[in-house]
């Protein structure tokens, strides 16, 4: 029930999937919103929130990778080997981006000299030298990678819906929480 079985996802995997999906979409929205705001105390609050949830997302993706390694996903449904191969590549890219995007944000915050803290409870160490050119570069890549992550996540959702409504298999149903 908690763990994945041969043909079902367990509760832990489903929780990782949906909590992170929600957080990533919310973070993308917050990131786009706050970078367009004029300066104010609210702006600083939003940046602090974005950094804190980013740190949470790093912790979640690390735990999720360990969980997946120790608890493999069930076999893909259907006999379209090409589609399943494509899905696997997609999953790998999504995992890679889920690691890279928050790391790039953390590195950019380090390069800015402002650093990152986890809800003002824990100050994160700096992982890049303080340098404005590096900061701008890291945040640019952070933005591009985040945009790519959201586009691919939407494509991933689209593929699940395609399997559900067109192919009429159980791919989406076995990830939903009932």
């Amino acid at each position: 029930m908690w763990r994945n079985s041969k043909d079902r996802f367990g509760t832990i995997t489903k929780s990782f999937h949906w909590v992170m999906a929600l957080l990533i979409m919310a973070m993308f929205g917050l990131g786009r919103y706050m970078t367009g705001l004029p300066p104010s105390r609210d702006l600083i609050y939003y940046y602090g929130l974005h950094k804190s949830f980013g740190i949470l997302l790093i912790a979640l993706i690390v735990m999720r990778i360990f969980w997946r390694k120790s608890n493999p996903a069930p076999k893909p449904l259907g006999d379209d080997a090409r589609a399943n191969r494509l899905a696997e590549i997609m999953h790998r890219i999504l995992y890679l981006l889920m690691v890279l995007v928050p790391l790039l944000g953390w590195a950019g915050s380090s390069a800015s000299g402002l650093g990152a803290s986890f809800f003002n409870l824990l100050n994160m160490p700096n992982i890049a030298p303080e340098n404005e050119t590096l900061e701008l570069l890291l945040f640019r890549i952070h933005e591009i990678a985040a945009t790519l992550l959201v586009i691919l996540a939407l494509a991933h959702a689209g593929a699940a819906l395609y399997r559900h409504f067109i192919k009429r298999d159980d791919t989406l149903r076995r990830m939903t929480i009932r």
Partner: protein, 187 residues
């Protein structure tokens, strides 16, 4: 004749003792070395939490007064999280390379309870002239000749771009208003 000499000697010594500049200590617990700055539509106060100051006031000959201040930039705060890190970062005070801001008075003028302090301030290794206004206050209930326990309020303004502290130009105003409010005690 003899009496006149004695009296005049006493008078002179009294006058001499008043004429000497008085050195003051700052009661740091009751003092704020602050500054305000614009952040978008808001005005926010920052503080220098560690500093040394030498303050000598000559009430009779104000020109003989002197002020020397050293502010520790590594302990400066800017009012809220991230702003403090921004203040200390390379883009503004660059505290790793410039751990101090210093001020030395060159010429103090004025009288009564107000003085104009001309001096040189060094920020990020760049020295520029700076003019400050100082006002002295005595506590309620003290007499007009109170000099042992006073409050000094120092105001002025500084353009951070003159010192290369140009970071966050879009968010933070160039002009900082100095707001020092210190309780001082004669040594």
């Amino acid at each position: 004749m003899r009496l006149a000499v004695i009296i005049s000697t006493i008078l002179l010594s009294v006058q001499m003792s008043f004429a000497a500049p008085i050195s003051y200590d700052i009661d740091k617990d009751a003092s704020i070395v602050g500054f305000t700055y614009r952040f978008g539509p808001e005005t926010i106060m920052g503080k220098f939490n560690d500093y040394d100051a030498e303050l000598r006031i000559d009430f009779d000959r104000v020109k003989n007064s002197t002020v020397n201040v050293r502010l520790d930039t590594t302990k400066a705060t800017a009012g809220f999280p991230f702003a403090t890190q921004a203040l200390r970062s390379k883009k503004i005070l660059n505290v790793d390379n410039f751990p101090n801001i210093t001020f030395q008075s060159t010429n103090i003028t004025g009288g009564g309870n107000t003085a104009t302090i001309n001096g040189n301030v060094t920020v990020r290794g760049i020295t520029k002239p700076l003019t400050l206004t100082a006002k002295l206050f005595r506590a309620v209930g003290t007499t007009a000749d109170e000099r042992d326990n006073l409050t000094i309020k120092i105001t002025g303004q500084i353009d951070r771009t003159e010192f290369g502290a140009t970071g966050y130009a879009k968010e933070v105003g160039d002009i900082l208003r100095i707001a020092i409010d210190a309780k001082i005690q004669a040594q």
